[in-house]
């Protein structure tokens, strides 16, 4: 039986800067290769959960296993490296560093992951991803800030796929796109994730996206009632 790509148990998180916000999760699991749509209202803690899974924030209690590693057993540096190597992250918008070229944006995680690939292999992989994402190759040397929003999201998708991602976490990546671009973006995302055999955990409040996913999880269903919410 394959190991889950995410396994959360007995998690308790209290944001120090906002003591009113408490997140308790008894159990949450995502199988390897499984794609989950996490639905929830604005302010329900979706982005916080993604931060915890990405290792950007640390729970006070409980365990989070991501891509086979227990995050609380790793040092801060190892968590950052683990994230660079095995996680692809896509934000809602403004995903890219506008002053870097498209090529530099896509290959940035490789630098943090200390994943040594030859320049030719990297370039070939970037070209392949761009082609896969329907991006013309002449954008590679363009400053990322000069691309359209749709193109920027596809570049962010290519960046999330570079390296050896086991899990893509995406925080409302389609909310800035029109419905046609949304469909196209998700099709490309799933094509590539299938190829790489990685799982997707996508957060959204748009229930219409459910058809693309193996499973839909309501944020409210995994939270233990505490009487306190954001």
């Amino acid at each position: 039986m394959p190991q889950p790509v995410i396994k959360i148990s007995d998690l308790s998180f209290l944001r120090k800067s906002n003591p009113d916000f408490v997140m308790n999760i008894a159990q949450f699991e995502q199988k390897a290769g499984e794609n989950i749509l996490l639905l929830g209202e604005s302010g329900s803690g979706k982005s916080t959960l993604l931060s915890l899974i990405a290792g950007l924030e640390k729970p006070q209690d409980g365990h989070i296993f991501v891509a086979g590693k227990a995050l609380n057993s790793l040092s801060k540096t190892k968590i950052d490296q683990h994230r660079a190597l095995h996680l692809g992250i896509i934000f809602q918008q403004l995903n890219l560093l506008p002053y870097l070229s498209v090529y530099e944006n896509i290959t940035l995680p490789l630098k943090f992951a200390s994943l040594h690939k030859s320049d030719i292999d990297t370039l070939n992989e970037v070209k392949r991803l761009c082609t896969q994402m329907n991006l013309p190759l002449d954008v590679l040397n363009k400053a990322a800030g000069k691309l359209s929003v749709g193109q920027q999201q596809r570049v962010a998708c290519a960046r999330a796929m570079i390296g050896q991602p086991k899990l893509i976490i995406a925080d409302e990546p389609t909310s800035a796109l029109d419905s046609r671009s949304q469909d196209r973006f998700l099709e490309l995302l799933f094509q590539e994730s299938n190829k790489k055999q990685c799982s997707i955990l996508l957060v959204s409040h748009d229930k219409r996206l459910a058809r693309y996913f193996d499973r839909t999880v309501e944020m409210g269903s995994i939270l233990k009632p505490t009487g306190k919410t954001k």
């Binding site: 916080t48 950007l56 801060k76 950052d80 490296q81 403004l94 560093l97 002053y99």
Partner: protein, 407 residues
Amino acid sequence: MILRLVLKSIFARGLVASMTILSIAFSITLFLGVEKVRTGAKASFTDTISDTDLIIGARSGSIQLLLYSIFHIGNATNNLSWESYLEIKKQPQVSWAVPISLGDSHKQFRVMGTTLAFFEHYKFRNDQSLTLAKGNLLDGLYDTVIGADVARSLGYDLKDSIIISHGIASFSEHKDHPFQITGVLEKTGTPIDRTIIVSLEAIEAIHQNWSPTPQSLEEERLSPETITAALVGVERRIDIFGLQRAINNYPKEPLQAILPGVALAELWQVFSIAEKAFLGISIMIICTALIGMLAILYASLNGRRREIAILRALGASPWFILKLLILEAGIICTISSILGMGALYVILLILQPYINSNYGIFIPILAPSKTEISVIIGTIIAGIFISLLPAYRAYTNSLADGMNVKS
């Protein structure tokens, strides 16, 4: 990678970054400029006279003797007898001696009686000799050689006649003894520029109301009874202090011998408060620029939270973010320093001749001094140190923000 990232980030924020760089560069130019003027002024001042081992005059204070004999400021309280001068000149330790007689003036400029040996032995700024811009040295009794400022201020040229006044700011003129300008000296940046040089005999002649006739051109008749001061050079430098002591204990009249370098340094101490004030102002200017950089770094942090969140999401550690901002400040300060120093040298290249000819301050264009390099390094270190505050803020923000930054 981090360097490339920082450079691109700086270029992307071109306007703000360039304003910060310009502000710090301008402060550095100002600081180093003030420092150059200060050291140039000090060097020009202390190099007013060189290669003269002792200045001899009637006993007074060392600064007073220096002021009236070299800077032509004020008057001697007493004179030095010609016999004493000749006796000192004969001492075996003395290599050369030049008499100076002051007291008369022309318009606002002092007249100095001396001998041709003055032109040979008076040295300034690294042992440079006086040189003529045009004309010849003193030949006839009523010939005069004038300093560059005298010629420029009064519009004098060769063969012009001048009348010398008795004393300073006096209406009593030696009208019957007009002098003819035979030479104009090159600018030196010393009090010589504002001096009218005549022969010692001529000073004697105008005060005896004496007109030359063939039979009266005897040296003895025109020998002065007293002179104001004398410049002395010794045979061996080891003799300086012995000779000084002998002159200070001269039995026939109360005399004083001073070391010009020591007296000049003492005199410069008078200006030390102004010097320190200049230094203080310059340091304040750099501090202001660095605080400006701190404000800009702080102000830009909010706008860069997104950038930092992206980097963190891609695997950058908070330590990397800290390094990023510190390196950015270091690069801004380094570029500013190079720019500021470059600007200073360009300004010096353009203005050096003007400052030298108009203010007599010679600012040499040399490689950066230890002090200047220390200022540059200090500015960069201070910039890095100051950037620790916003960098730490960015570090803590990056820990707290996680994926929650929406704009």
